[in-house]
């Protein structure tokens, strides 16, 4: 566009005097007169608005905002993380990813017409961090040099933990170990309820398989939780207690799913009189069958006389008096001197959870089936 114009009559030029155009508006009008491109460039009058989720895995969407200027106006988008462009994020929607956690994400909308272009910034969305309890688990794993789960599994674990809180499960547990994940085997030993306490030991070579858990050998391998309910139980008490075994698969050798080095606590596969929690050496009057269907198995001490045994969400009650809280570590894939070659995906213990069990089972199955 020229900086100089000519004064004169458009329909019959008599004389022209060169003059300097004094403003952008004059420049535009002059340019429009000679080029026929009359109009105005885009000017933003209402900023774009970003809305949507604030958690990774959720989607943000931006409006174009409101613009004046010669139509047609077209729009392009560039998403930013803490003010820097996100490579490849140029659609009107944006899927939040792990790298966005704890940052401000916004969109810069650029409007373009035949006259020119202009940009406007949207509001910024602060992407939520992980739940503080889940972040503490990750921090512990990092400090110990463990291999953490992938970003996608972290998101799934965070969802599991928050769902357990919503469902009233989390507050009632003393220990919770999630073996089924795609981090290293050592990361699986952390106690989610308190990653600074009751870290489990991987005893005598159970096999660890990513996203499945630990498999016993039916002979000598198991997980020692280092959780002694007698000396460390908070929610777990004599007449209000639970143990959970979350199977990935069942083997064929040995019956033990969980237990202690004594006979007081046991969950065993199959039809058995030996299912017990805080019941000393006594056995049930009538057996209970923990079937080999893959669904969380649990046993709940609901009173000084009664236990509830759950196959997934199918429950039954048995009468067996409580005797003592075992003064021994809880084991996984072992009870007393018996070992099982099942594959365990998780283990939990705490207060009885008969009312919360269905939601807990659903929370777990949602997580496990997503791996």
């Amino acid at each position: 566009m020229s900086e100089f114009g000519f004064k004169g009559k458009a329909d019959g030029v008599n004389s022209f005097n060169a003059f300097k155009l004094g403003s952008d508006k004059e420049l535009q009008e002059f340019d429009s007169f000679f080029t026929g491109r009359g109009g105005n460039p885009p000017v933003n009058v209402v900023a774009p608005v970003v809305s949507g989720g604030v958690l990774i895995g959720q989607t943000l969407t931006t409006t174009d905002g409101t613009w004046t200027g010669t139509t047609p106006i077209t729009y392009t988008y560039q998403w930013q993380r803490n003010g820097s462009p996100i490579s490849g994020a140029t659609l009107q929607t944006y899927l939040l990813v792990y790298a966005d956690v704890g940052t401000d994400v916004r969109c810069v909308v650029t409007a373009t017409n035949a006259i020119g272009s202009a940009s406007a910034n949207s509001n910024a969305i602060t992407v939520a961090s992980f739940d503080s309890d889940y972040q503490a688990i990750l921090n512990k794993g990092t400090s110990l040099g463990y291999t953490l789960p992938s970003d996608s599994v972290k998101l799934k674990q965070n969802t599991l933990l928050t769902n357990m809180k919503v469902d009233g499960v989390w507050a009632k547990l003393d220990v919770f170990y999630v073996f089924a994940q795609d981090g290293g085997s050592a990361f699986a030993t952390l106690n989610w309820k308190n990653p600074n306490a009751n870290q489990a030991n991987i005893t005598t070579s159970p096999t660890f398989t990513s996203n499945q858990g630990f498999t016993g050998n039916g002979t000598s391998s198991y997980i020692d939780t280092n959780y002694n309910p007698s000396t460390q139980g908070v929610n777990y008490t004599l007449n209000n207690a639970s143990m959970y075994f979350f199977p990935h698969a069942f083997g064929t050798s040995g019956l033990a799913m969980t237990g202690t080095s004594g006979a007081d606590n046991r969950i065993q596969l199959g039809v058995s009189l030996n299912q017990r929690i805080n019941a000393g050496g006594a056995a049930l009057a009538t057996s209970f069958n923990y079937t080999s269907t893959v669904n969380p198995k649990s046993i709940h001490r609901t009173s000084s006389t009664n236990m509830t045994l759950l196959n997934g969400t199918v429950s039954d009650t048995r009468t067996l008096a409580s005797v003592n809280v075992p003064n021994a570590n809880l084991f996984v894939l072992r009870s007393s001197t018996n070992y099982g070659n099942h594959t365990c995906a998780a283990f939990a213990a705490g207060a009885e959870l008969t009312a919360e069990n269905t939601n807990f089972v659903n929370d777990w199955n949602t997580y496990k089936n997503s791996l």
């Binding site: 870290q199 005598t204 002979t219 020692d224 001197t337």
Partner: protein, 65 residues
């Protein structure tokens, strides 16, 4: 199934070996024998004691409740 069997001396030398969160604990079968699964021979977490583990006797064992 075949398992590794330790005598009293071998048991005292190896039982409780710990490498981080990985630990070796012998099971005691119904006859009072100290046994572990063959898996320990392939476990890199026990590579430092592999030679001692490899010296253990192989015996037949049938898991029971």
């Amino acid at each position: 199934m075949i398992v590794l069997h330790a005598n009293e001396e071998q048991y005292k030398a190896l039982n409780g070996y710990t490498n981080g969160v990985y630990q070796l604990i012998f099971a005691i079968d119904g006859s009072g024998r100290y046994i572990v699964g063959l898996e320990v021979l392939n476990d890199p977490n026990f590579s430092d004691i592999h030679e001692q583990l490899d010296e253990l006797e192989r015996i037949e064992y049938t898991p029971t409740e």
